[in-house]
Symmetry: C2
Subunit: 159 residues, 2 copies
DNA sequence: TTAAGTGCAAACCGTTTGCACATAC
DNA sequence: GTATGTGCAAACGGTTTGCACTTAA
């Protein structure tokens, strides 16, 4: 976790008047110690690696705090559970391209597309709020290696 | 429901070897008798207006058949339930702009955006599959009239 | 006649919440 | 000391499913 992120998290705790608990520390380190997208369940696992006492309830409660402050972005990728994106506050305008084979997620930005969307919205009588683009396709790994690099990205289990 | 749609539904039933039941008829008429997006629950209500014997289970089972055949498009609009789009098979490349105030959904297409997305995907090493764009904003109704036209679009209740 | 379809109620599963206990301040 | 935070288990809500009954073909 870089220094800037650490500082942002400190500010977050202070401004909201939140207590520094061991569980919150473990969850924050887990969430922002990666640039990968994760689910509530994988975050629980990662946080428990740091502090086994972390409960599922606290993970969900902390996720709610982080998303409403904008430190995490909630993603709806068509699965029946949510993903969380720890890169959003640094790159608020990025979009996602997702591999259908291995669920690998790559981020991109495009001023051109944003401009076009803005024009279309205006023509349709809308004041634009947010834009979300999700491209699905196939990454090169399957073709090249016969298997994607990330086949294990989505399995989940309870404890 | 126009003649072309009717024909498509006939083909759908025949090709899948599905029986023509009163309940299916009611659900199909409800689903394709509108160009609006709907939820499973609103479809249940609409189908029951035609045949009160329709059950929630049959609605869900029929929705599964229609989406896997491509006659309906399942939409994930960030709510905790799914929307279904009956216009998709006629306009497979359209996207959505949604009013944050009233949940009004307007559809649009853009070859330019598709082209840009295609280029970006290629650069990132992806073979493009599908593209999904969701713009959120505010429609003009609230500003003009002080209220959106569609405030009742999303409430749901069980029976 | 009989396999496909249906309604009902229970199960499912990710997420939320009430409550009693623990703890940061 | 006390309000905030926590773990646990139960509740929640949209969706799915097992089962016995119905019905189209």
């Amino acid at each position: 976790m870089d220094h800037e992120t650490k500082e942002r998290l400190e500010t977050f705790l202070t401004q909201k008047g939140l207590r520094r608990t061991a569980q919150r520390a473990a969850i924050l380190e887990a969430a922002f110690g990666t640039t990968e997208h994760f689910t509530a369940e994988t975050l629980l696992t990662m946080a428990r690696d740091r502090d086994p006492s972390v409960s599922r309830a606290t993970v969900y409660r902390t996720l709610a705090l982080l998303t409403e402050t904008g430190l995490l972005k909630e993603l709806d990728l068509g699965k029946d559970f949510k993903f969380y994106d720890p890169n959003y506050s640094k790159h608020p305008n990025h979009h996602h391209i997702i591999c259908n084979d291995c669920d690998k997620i790559v981020e991109f930005e495009s001023k051109d597309i944003e401009q076009l969307e803005s024009e279309i919205s205006h023509k349709l009588g809308f004041t634009i709020g947010s834009q979300k683009i999700e491209i699905r396709g196939n990454c090169e790994d399957l073709k090249k290696k016969g298997v994607c690099s990330n086949q294990t990205g989505c399995e989940k289990k309870k404890t």
